[in-house]
């Protein structure tokens, strides 16, 4: 593509992002706002692909737009009261806050442009490239996530687990959905196997191409959410106890590998180069299962109904 055509594409996507963001933030109806937010997420995924960040594009489309959208739509459905009941801010406040924020944006833009002048590929990126052959994978993003900065990823899995614990302690799950209409049910029946195959492929390919545990986990979670939305209980998802065990497994295996590395090399999470590839695959396998079940349980929105009978009897 010629540079000129690419510039038009850039301007088109930037304009779309702005319009969709304004729509998602200020649309009169909350339902419209949520739907525009989902579309916004999809355009953002295109922009990530444009900026040569395909790993993030995949994650954004599956998590940032897909699952966040499902969560928001489910939250909308839970609301019994009118979504428009909240009072609107008076116009003078809108303008005053707008002026302050505009000042902030100009200040940040000035700082950003100032930094752009002296920007170069940082020394850290060179370090990553120089050490890529001892990381066990050839996709630099996976190398950073699961080897060089494995600590961050372990903590990220912990954050996800903490959020899940929070969601489960706040109330019961939503009641299951009714069976979908024939058209939707047929479509769901086609989509779920596709999602499972695509998720497994992304997990495997993450070592040397865009993909990895997060994208794969998100796709598997999407398959489970679809099955739930369609009321298709015959897909025999793992039971709730299994889902909870799987949700913890990612953190557990990651920590165990990290501790084994501590015993072997004296440094926590320092993977031995000869084993790094296999160990990363092992961690990613469990992380995928963990992310998929955590995201699905979070979507269900609470603890299983069987826990209610035990409420008030903490010893039971």
């Amino acid at each position: 593509m010629t540079p000129g055509a690419l510039l038009y594409l850039d301007l088109l996507m930037m304009g779309l992002m702005l319009v969709l963001a304004v729509g998602a933030l200020y649309a009169r109806s909350l339902r419209h706002a949520v739907i525009l937010f989902i579309v916004f997420g999809l355009v953002v995924a295109l922009v990530w692909a444009r900026l040569r960040a395909p790993d993030i594009a995949l994650a954004e489309a599956a998590i940032g737009s897909g699952l966040a959208g499902a969560l928001l739509l489910a939250a909308l459905r839970d609301r019994r009261r009118g979504a428009e009941s909240a009072p609107r801010s008076p116009a003078w406040q809108v303008v005053a806050v707008g002026a302050v924020v505009a000042g902030l944006v100009l200040l940040l833009a000035w700082a950003f442009l100032d930094l752009q002048g002296e920007r170069a590929n940082g020394p850290l990126a060179d370090t990553v490239r120089a050490n890529l052959d001892v990381s066990g994978v050839s996709n630099p993003v996976t190398a950073v996530l699961l080897n060089f900065r494995a600590y961050d990823t372990l903590l990220e899995l912990t954050v996800l687990l903490a959020a899940l614990l929070g969601v489960m302690s706040l109330g019961p799950q939503r009641p299951p959905m009714d069976a979908a209409e024939p058209m939707a049910a047929g479509l769901i029946g086609w989509l779920i196997p596709l999602l499972i195959v695509a998720g497994s492929y992304l997990l495997w390919v993450g070592a040397h191409a865009p993909g990895g545990a997060f994208q794969a986990g998100a796709l598997l979670a999407a398959a489970a959410v679809l099955a739930d939305l369609g009321g298709r209980r015959e897909f025999r998802l793992p039971g709730q106890t299994w889902l909870r065990l799987l949700a913890v497994a990612g953190c557990a295996v990651f920590t165990l590998v990290g501790l084994a590395a501590l015993i072997g090399s004296g440094v926590l999470l320092q993977l031995p180069p000869d084993w790094a590839g296999s160990l990363i695959l092992l961690i990613e396998l469990f992380a995928t299962a963990s992310i998929a079940s955590a995201l699905f349980l979070v979507y269900l929105g609470g603890h299983p109904p069987s826990w209610n009978s035990r409420e008030g009897h903490p010893d039971a």
Partner: protein
């Protein structure tokens, strides 16, 4: 011709600003959550724009890993916030 990294970076700042504005001005909690999410996308866009060095050079993988982590943390936080909201509205109804 302007550098795409600069253009997208500036757009990220504008999106973050829009998010801050809506988070303050809007009164509905779900709208505020949307605003915080748009704010997050703006921040991610600035990060990825600084990692982009044109079509001929590989991008910097470190901001990419950071944003990937950020997306998952953002959706976890959104889910927790929605569950808190649901519990809050349920307690109000009772």
């Amino acid at each position: 011709m302007p550098d795409p990294a600069t253009l997208y970076g500036l757009l990220g700042i504008v999106l973050a600003g829009l998010g801050v504005h809506a988070a303050i001005v809007q009164r509905d909690s779900i709208r505020r959550l949307l605003a915080i999410n748009v704010m997050g996308v703006g921040v991610f866009l600035v990060l990825i724009a600084t990692a982009y060095f044109g079509p001929d050079q590989d991008p910097d993988p470190i901001p990419h890993a950071l944003v990937l982590t950020g997306i998952v943390v953002a959706v976890a936080a959104t889910a927790l916030a929605l569950a808190l909201l649901r519990a809050f509205e349920r307690s109000e109804d009772e």
